[in-house]
């Protein structure tokens, strides 16, 4: 390390020693010699700084080194590296004030006080002053630079061999030389003496190591020549310095050389040269990574900015001007066209315009309800661009209205290189008040329609808005116009979509999007809760149309799809879904296909559960009412029948009693007469019954060819609500085809309904066993049909099996006991049989047969 840092720089190019220094660090670290390791760190940084390596890399090394030193708690090195880091940071523009180390971590005054208070810290103090010298020099604060130089020189004894010493001489010389311009005669002489002294040292070193020192010595020599008025010498030496620095890769020294040369030419009135050299200097600083210095230059010389770095790139360095323009154009174009949100677009636009154009201030005027209003204002303050979105009317105090009106009227741009000079708009009060200098006003038009105006000004300098820039700005303007239109369209679209979204999310009605593959693409919460699925189910793609529709509703689905394909929409129709938990959900559903996308569509689904429930409740009430009415009628009927029958029965009893008494009185004649009366009364009773029966059957029962399967289905439909209510599952096994039978439809319906309802009611008492009703139809051996109804209820009491079909036999609390008796009579009237037996494992089986019958049969 020692060799690398202390000896080699004096004879060989700085960079050659670097590897040694690095190796020194590795070895020292490996053997645990922390002191040496940390020394190596700071040596490395010195080396990097002297060599002009890209500052971003140097900063990283410095930060790592500082961390290492802090861990090693090596105060001296910490101090040294801290200052090095300070220099790097300020050069890179990371400190608030360029050229000053002060920031959150560093306080120059405090450090200086500490270092000067302790003689043991001389080495660190020396290092500090050297770096401060450099910093102040770059910042152009030559007074402070000279002070620092002097301070450093005093402490030089402590660090004679370090390469920083060389730098101290170099920068010290330059600082003194630069101070001469503003110096009083007495000071002037001192400065010249100092410069000369530094130069002598540099010249000696240059002899021993031209790689490192030729450029440094030459530059200082150039300065001396300048001061002595030897212009040609100065020119030559500046060139030498530039050249030597460039040849040896010292980009920072090249930059400094260019800069000093530029100042030299400017002072002598060679503005063109000065500009060129200054530009070149800026480019070199940029290459070095000294953003802070670059910005510093730009502020002093605004026209220097020929390109604007893209919002997130700081790396356009060293490329020729034309290439820069194209890249800029592309970046700008992309940045502006990429924004779809209005606020962000405005901000990007304004920032781009200011940075690219080099304006101090920019205004964007847009149309708002046929009025021109300021939509945004951007201003620069120190190095930052501040964009503020506004909505204010245009007034004479914010921009020159005459310029604006001209642009509005002609849709042409207006450029004033120097508003202070005489121009068509000189009379505008704004120009006089604000002392406007560079003014540029661009129209923003899209397809020949003017949608806004961009106003730029820079009142610090004239001719800021270079013609080349204007071309790019015009492009920017038209791009912006398009983008503004787009944002407006986008916002309209977003609003429309929001309206639709509100409908969907209001969850008044279930809405689902689907495609013909059966997938459900999207659904709102109302739909999901209707079918009992979660949002995760939807997202995972587990939901599909076919699954939601139970088998018995598939036909309805087919019809709907056919209608959709034909007309693009399907009218609302009732159907049922099967929910995730197996329950049925009655719904009303209407659908429509998407325009253009003919294989996907949207459905609106209304939950009918409540309505169905209400309907069911109504039906039940009606049924109960009918039943009650029937019961009442039956009661009335029974009373009437009873009365009718009691008459002849009473007569029978009386006559028979009389007959007995006549016999006792041995009056045979009267006895005979009485007996005859009894017989007559009995007949009369029979007649009455016959009349009553005839009353009930006013018309002879209509017999027709009947499909028993259809009858079974009808009856099961009637009984469905009862089955659902009692939780009974109904299964059918109907033989197809089944022969037609000649029968009274209503009577057979009655029989079936009676048997089925009996079964359902029997099962309503079953605990948690299965409640299953099975209805079967088969052709019978005697040509006809056999119907079987099986249930899983408690079954029949074997003791009462014989009485099952007797009239008035019932096990129900309020049953008449007529159902089965009547059913059997009906079946027997049709020529069939009705019987019952036990079901396995439990329950009952009722079967009846209906023969085909004939035309003549009754």
């Amino acid at each position: 390390m020692l060799f690398g840092n202390l000896i080699m720089p004096w004879t060989k190019h700085v960079r050659t020693g670097r590897d040694l220094v690095r190796r020194a660090f590795d070895v020292a670290n490996a053997i645990g010699d922390l002191a040496y390791a940390t020394y190596s760190c700071n040596s490395l940084i010195t080396n990097l700084l002297a060599a002009g390596d890209p500052l971003v890399d140097v900063q990283r090394e410095a930060e790592e080194g500082l961390e290492f030193a802090e861990k090693a708690r090596f105060g001296l090195v910490i101090d040294i590296i801290a200052v090095q880091l300070g220099l790097i940071r300020t050069l890179r523009g990371l400190t608030p004030i360029f050229g000053c180390f002060n920031d959150e971590r560093f306080d120059e005054l405090r450090v200086e006080r500490r270092l000067s208070s302790d003689p043991m810290l001389a080495r660190a103090a020396c290092s500090y002053w050297m770096r401060k010298l450099q910093a102040r020099f770059f910042a152009g604060d030559y007074v402070s630079a000279v002070e620092a130089s002097v301070a450093a020189q005093h402490l030089l004894r402590a660090a004679p061999a370090y390469f920083e010493t060389a730098e101290a001489h170099f920068y010290g010389a330059l600082s003194h030389a630069a101070s001469c311009d503003a110096a009083l005669p007495a000071q002037y002489r001192q400065h010249v003496q100092a410069v000369t002294a530094h130069h002598r040292q540099l010249a000696i070193w240059a002899e021993h190591c031209p790689e490192n020192f030729e450029n440094r010595a030459a530059l200082v020599g150039a300065e001396i020549a300048r001061l002595e008025g030897r212009e040609l010498d100065a020119e030559r030496l500046y060139e030498q310095a530039i050249h030597a620095a460039h040849a040896n890769g010292f980009v920072h020294n090249e930059a400094i050389a260019y800069e000093r040369a530029s100042a030299f030419y400017r002072a002598r009135g060679f503005d063109e040269f000065a500009e060129t050299y200054l530009w070149k200097s800026r480019a070199c600083y940029a290459r070095w990574g000294a953003e802070g210095k670059v910005r510093h230059l730009d502020q002093r010389h605004p026209h220097l900015r020929q390109e604007e770095p893209a919002p997130d790139a700081r790396g356009t360095i060293g490329a020729p001007l034309e290439h820069l323009e194209l890249a800029t154009v592309l970046k700008v174009s992309q940045a502006v066209s990429g924004e779809i949100v209005l606020e962000k677009l405005l901000e990007t636009l304004m920032r781009t315009a200011i940075e690219h154009a080099g304006a101090e201030r920019a205004l964007l005027i847009l149309w708002r309800e046929a009025e021109q209003r300021i939509a945004a204002e951007a201003t620069t303050s120190s190095d930052t661009v501040i964009v503020q979105l506004r909505d204010e009317p245009v007034t004479a105090s914010v921009l020159p209205e005459t310029v604006l009106r001209y642009v509005l009227h002609t849709q042409e741009s207006v450029l004033l290189d120097d508003a202070a000079t005489l121009n068509p708009f000189s009379a505008d009060p704004y120009i006089g008040q604000r002392q406007a200098r560079s003014v540029l006003c661009l129209p923003l038009s899209n397809q020949a329609k003017l949608i806004g105006v961009l106003y730029l000004e820079n009142n610090l300098a004239p001719r800021v808005f270079a013609p080349a820039r204007i071309a790019v700005l015009t492009l920017l303007a038209s791009q912006a116009a398009i983008s503004l239109e787009n944002t407006r369209l986008y916002r309209d679209l977003a609003e429309r979509e929001a309206k639709i979204r509100r409908l969907v999310d209001a969850n008044i009605i279930g809405i689902a999007l689907w495609d013909f593959d059966g997938r459900i693409i999207e659904a709102n919460d109302a739909f999901l809760s209707l079918v009992g699925y979660s949002r995760e189910d939807l997202a995972s793609g587990r939901m599909s149309w076919p699954e939601l529709t139970p088998a018995d509703w598939r036909a309805v689905d087919q019809r709907q799809f056919a209608e959709l394909r034909a007309t693009g929409r399907s009218a609302p129709v009732e159907k049922e879904y099967v929910r995730k938990d197996g329950r049925r959900a009655p719904v009303l559903i209407g659908s429509a296909l998407f325009e253009g996308q003919r294989d996907a569509g949207v459905s609106f689904v209304l939950d009918l559960t409540e309505r169905k429930r209400a309907e069911e409740s109504l039906r039940q009430t009606q049924a109960e009412l009918e039943h009650a009415t029937r019961m009442q009628t039956l009661g009335e009927l029974t009373a009437s029948i009873a009365h009718e029958i009691n008459q002849p029965l009473g007569a029978v009893v009386n006559n028979a009693s009389a007959c007995v008494r006549w016999l006792a009185a041995q009056n045979l004649e009267e006895a005979r007469r009485s007996a005859a009366l009894v017989i007559a009364d009995g007949h009369r009773a029979a007649d009455i019954i016959g009349r009553i029966r005839a009353l009930a059957q006013k018309a002879p029962p209509p017999k027709d060819w009947l499909d028993l399967n259809a009858t079974i289905r009808d009856v099961l439909a009637l009984a469905r609500s009862a089955a659902q209510r009692h939780g009974v599952a109904v299964e059918t096994h109907l033989a197809e085809p089944v022969p037609l039978v000649r029968a009274d439809r209503i009577q057979l319906q009655q029989v079936l309904l009676n048997v089925v309802i009996n079964a359902i009611e029997a099962m309503s008492g079953v605990g948690d066993g299965p409640r299953q009703l099975v209805v079967q139809s088969d052709p019978d051996t005697v040509p006809g049909v056999r119907v079987t109804v099986r249930d899983s209820g408690p079954g029949l009491d074997p003791q009462h099996l014989d009485h099952l079909f007797d009239a008035f036999y019932t096990t129900k609390a309020n049953g008449l006991g007529l159902g089965l008796a009547i059913s059997r009579r009906i079946i027997e009237a049709h020529g069939g049989r009705l019987w019952a037996r036990a079901n396995v494992p439990h329950g009952a089986v009722f079967q009846f047969t209906v023969p085909i019958g004939s035309e003549e049969g009754a």
Binding site: G650, N655, R661
Partner: protein
């Protein structure tokens, strides 16, 4: 009066039933008069013999219960046995409260009807006897002379002959004679009997 003279009235619009009732009643030796409606019954003459009425509740025109009320209001009251084809409890209660003897539902046991008829006839006989006695008493009273009536009125108040003579302004001996005539004409065996008769006749106490 014997049962043979009694007459049972039957009112029922059902002819066979009417005939059977008639048959039954005759078979136990009762005389029967049958009618098809309440109106027919009312418009036919009523012989002066013990009688009762076997009446169906439901009749065309005037109903059984209405007939009951009409009879009770008038002077033609006779014991009623209701028969009906319906087991109507409120109706039966109403009928019994209004004084019916029995309420039977068809078809009834023959014995039940016969028992009720006998009971009714007995009641009616008793009523008639009572009435006949009352009429006899009145007839006898009417046969008294005014003076005899005066004496009668005072005798039953417990006055002595002397007092009566004083009130009437006649002699005690005359009063004694009148008293004897009254006793004979009225047929009273004792003063106590005479007092009872006077009660039954409702003779007012004379003002002194």
């Amino acid at each position: 009066m014997t049962d043979a003279e009694a007459l049972v009235f039957v009112v029922d619009d059902d002819a066979p039933l009417r005939a059977s009732l008639e048959n039954l009643l005759r078979s136990v030796g009762l005389r029967v008069a049958a009618f098809a409606s309440a109106q027919e019954f009312l418009s036919s003459p009523r012989p002066e013999v013990p009688g009762c009425l076997v009446l169906d509740v439901r009749l065309p025109g005037l109903s059984g219960l209405e007939l009951q009320q009409r009879l009770a209001a008038g002077d033609l009251a006779m014991p009623i046995i209701f028969i009906t084809g319906h087991g109507d409890i409120p109706m039966s209660v109403q009928a019994m409260k209004a004084g019916a003897v029995e309420f039977l539902t068809k078809p009834f046991r023959d014995q039940d009807l016969l028992d009720a008829v006998h009971q009714a006839l007995a009641r009616d006989r008793a009523v008639r006897e009572q009435r006949a006695k009352s009429e006899e008493l009145h007839r006898r009273y009417r046969a008294l002379t005014p003076r005899e009536r005066d004496v009668l009125a005072r005798v039953v108040t417990g006055l002595l002959n002397k007092q009566i003579a004083g009130e009437l302004g006649t002699s005690e001996a005359a009063v004694k004679v009148h008293r004897q005539h009254v006793m004979a004409k009225m047929g009273a065996g004792s003063l106590a009997e005479l007092v009872r008769m006077a009660d039954r006749l409702g003779i007012p106490t004379p003002q002194v």
